[in-house]
Every structure is written in C-alpha cells, then in structure tokens.
Amino acid sequence: MRKSAEPFWWLLFATGGTVAAFLVPVHILLGGVALAAGVTREAFAYDRILTLVSHPASRLYLFVLISLSLFHWAHRFRYTLAEGLHLKASWLPVSVGCYGSAILGTLMAAMVLARL
C-alpha cells in the first residue's frame, strides 16, 4: 500500500492553525489597526524594530509564525477549492499550487530572516 502524505500536511495545518489562532490577532492589531491609529507608530520605528527582529529568538519566532500560517492556509484553501468549487478533478494542481506557495513563502522567510 502506498503511504499517504496526508498526515504530514494535516499536522502542519493543525500546528499552523493553533499558532495563527493564538498569535495572528494581536499581530494584526499592533502592526495594522493600532499602527494606522497612530498608537504603535513609535514602537514600529525603524531602529526599534531592527533591534527587536535582529534577536535570534525573534527571527525564529517570526519564521515559525509566517511559515506555519502559510501551511495552515494551504491546507484549508486546498479543501475549500476542491469541495466548494468542485475542483476534485484538479486535485493535484490545486495541491501543488497551495503547498508550493507555502513552501515558497517559507523559503523566502528563511532567506530574509537570515540576512537581517
């Protein structure tokens, strides 16, 4: 019997969903809504953020946050396209497109964070 890769993708989805559930709202609040309201403008000054992000722990944290959020999306979006839009016939290209984007985003995050 052929081994399925499904548990692997599901695990990334579940971990990513948990990471996103706990962390994404506060990040959008601080770096999006509050920034526009002017509340966090000083906190997001170039020198402060550069110092904060340069710490190895921050870089690892951001890498995990970005990568797992993307894998969480890839898994959900794949099923939504397949079931919501009846794209079951194009299961393979949909999967390659979704997970491929997540892998690409992960590589880009690794490259950017390594250079900071």
Partner: protein, 127 residues
C-alpha cells in the same frame, strides 16, 4: 457526459447558515495567509534599509490597507474562536482518568490566548 452525472454546483453553501459559516471559517485562512505575506514584506523592507521600511509603513496606513487590516482582524478573531471551540473535540484531556469537561478546555485556551497576546504586546511595545 453520462446522463447520471449531475453538473457541479458552486453555490451549495449559500442559503444554509451552517454551510455559509463553514465556508467563511475556511476562508479566514486567506486573511491569515495574506497577513503572513504582509509580515514577510515588512521584514524584506526592513532588510532593505530605513527608506524602504518607512515607505512600507506609509503604505500600510493608506485607507485601503487600513480597511484590509480591520477585515483581516475580524477574520483572524473568527478563526481563533472557532479553533478554540473545536479544541476539546480535537484533543480529549484526561486528568486522573477523568475527562476534563470541554468547557474547561475551551476556557483554558481563551486564558492562554489572552496571556500570549499580552506578552507579545509587551515585547513589541516595550522592548
């Protein structure tokens, strides 16, 4: 086409509240991913230098992006609450052989969520 083949329907989830909420829940992941891309762009501009970073921040506070962040925040909150609501079903917690009531598991998730959010906010605002 075989006469027994039903043509695909794309709107099966419209008009049924449970199905619509299900699709909305799945689509919150699009906003989660969009946020991840914005975070990646922020880091890339940070790596490019002060001018690129400050120009990026100015773009983030344009009306369209502010509207996006508000919608994305609502979507992210919907993802969090639906995710926590499902947690007792995904993982049955037992202490001393007895099952911890689902309500307690959900409450523990909310408590952890608040603590984690406060820690992130303190680090970003005071570091």
């Amino acid at each position: 086409m075989s006469p027994f083949h039903r043509p695909p329907q794309f709107n099966w989830w419209v008009g049924n509240r449970a199905f619509t909420l299900f699709v909305v829940r799945e689509l919150t992941s699009v906003f989660v991913a969009a946020y991840a891309v914005l975070a990646l762009l922020l880091l890339r501009n940070l790596a490019l230098g002060r001018d690129a970073y400050e120009a990026y921040l100015r773009w983030l506070v344009t009306p369209g992006m502010v509207a996006f962040h508000i919608v994305a925040l609502v979507a992210a909150l919907y993802h969090s609450t639906t995710w926590f609501a499902l947690s007792p079903k995904a993982m049955v917690v037992r202490i001393g052989g007895r099952r911890v009531p689902p309500r307690v598991v959900v409450s523990a998730n909310y408590l952890a969520w608040i603590i984690v959010s406060v820690i992130v906010a303190v680090i970003v605002l005071r570091a």
